[in-house]
């Protein structure tokens, strides 16, 4: 038998997910899992699950986990961390969850500098509920509640999480990444590692926004979705590290 040079992370249970083909939620869980494994903290990790397409992740996380109400993951994570200060808390949130209904909890937890790591799957849409407009939906992008495309005069402008959170004093790491090719996947993993290392070191709050896809509600193939991230989303949501403090 040969040497395993790439194996499925033990962070994931041995079962298929309900995610649509090509959806990046799964990829994000996987990268986080690999990072937690590499950091050797799986045995004290907790996944804090938000409501969005990733809500059923309680079936995938192979560590203790808690499924939150829509938008409230940062508050719940605050409670978890208050009770278990040595646990490593991985929040996974969508844009409806993090930037609309849960915006207060997001900003407030960041403002308090909770020692948690937030992974923000920004796919510009409400996946779970069938493709409604999100705060992040691009101008002109069609969604089921803006069937003619988002019109800034009626629906406002795309909201930028990293830029907003970077105005706060407490956060240690605020970054935006993408996954459309191998260099970006590697970069994302590096940043995730830093984000969780911050938590292990009790430095405080880290926020990693990942430009994500929703092939189903974008009505695009997985490949075309990745291209869309590169060509359209990135323009509005520039990649980069907005804050990185020690």
């Amino acid at each position: 038998m040969g040497e395993m040079i790439y194996k499925r992370t033990d962070f994931l249970k041995a079962r298929p997910t309900h995610y649509c083909p090509g959806c990046t939620h799964g990829l994000e869980h996987k990268l986080v899992g690999e990072v937690l494994e590499e950091l050797g903290v799986i045995d004290r990790s907790i996944m804090v699950i938000s409501v969005g397409c990733s809500a059923p992740a309680y079936d995938y996380a192979n560590v203790d986990n808690i499924a939150c109400l829509h938008g409230r993951a940062p508050a719940t994570a605050t409670g978890v961390k208050a009770a278990l200060p040595d646990s490593i808390v991985y929040l996974h949130q969508g844009d409806g969850d993090l930037l609309s209904i849960g915006l207060d909890e997001t900003i407030s937890a960041a403002g308090r500098g909770e020692n948690i790591t937030v992974v923000f799957a920004n796919n510009n849409i409400y996946g779970m509920t069938g493709g409604q407009m999100a705060a992040t939906t691009l101008i002109g992008q069609k969604a089921t509640t803006c069937p003619a495309g988002r019109d800034p005069h009626l629906d406002g402008y795309p909201m930028k999480a990293c830029e907003m959170i970077a105005t706060l004093t407490a956060p240690k790491l605020v970054a935006r990444t993408a996954l459309y090719d191998i260099p970006h996947i590697i970069q994302t993993k590096k940043i995730l590692k830093k984000a969780f290392q911050n938590q292990i070191d009790k430095k405080g709050y880290s926020f990693v926004e990942i430009l994500s896809t929703c092939p189903t509600n974008w009505h695009m193939s997985p490949q075309a979705s990745m291209e869309h991230v590169k060509n359209e989303m990135e323009e509005v949501y520039p990649l980069g590290i907005f804050k990185d403090e020690d």
Binding site: I5, Y6, G22, L27, P215
Partner: protein, 68 residues
């Protein structure tokens, strides 16, 4: 020599691995699983350079790679 295995329970035929394989050796099998999902495979294992791109990009963690 690298053995690229695609787990048919996990693979959903999204094709992302096919896109990112620098050797263009990932391909659809033409088979589908019982949820109607297409399945990918490494069509020319002998050409594989073990770069792991396919595995890294797979959203469903369906790919494992073994070096032999």
């Amino acid at each position: 020599m690298f053995i690229v295995k695609v787990n048919p329970d996990y693979c959903k035929g999204c094709g992302l691995c096919i896109d990112l394989c620098p050797k263009h050796i990932m391909a659809m099998t033409g088979k589908i699983n019982d949820k109607g999902m297409d399945l990918a495979e490494c069509a020319k294992p002998e050409d594989c350079i073990g770069c792991k791109s396919c595995a890294m990009t797979c959203p469903d963690a369906a790919i494992t790679i073994e070096k032999q």
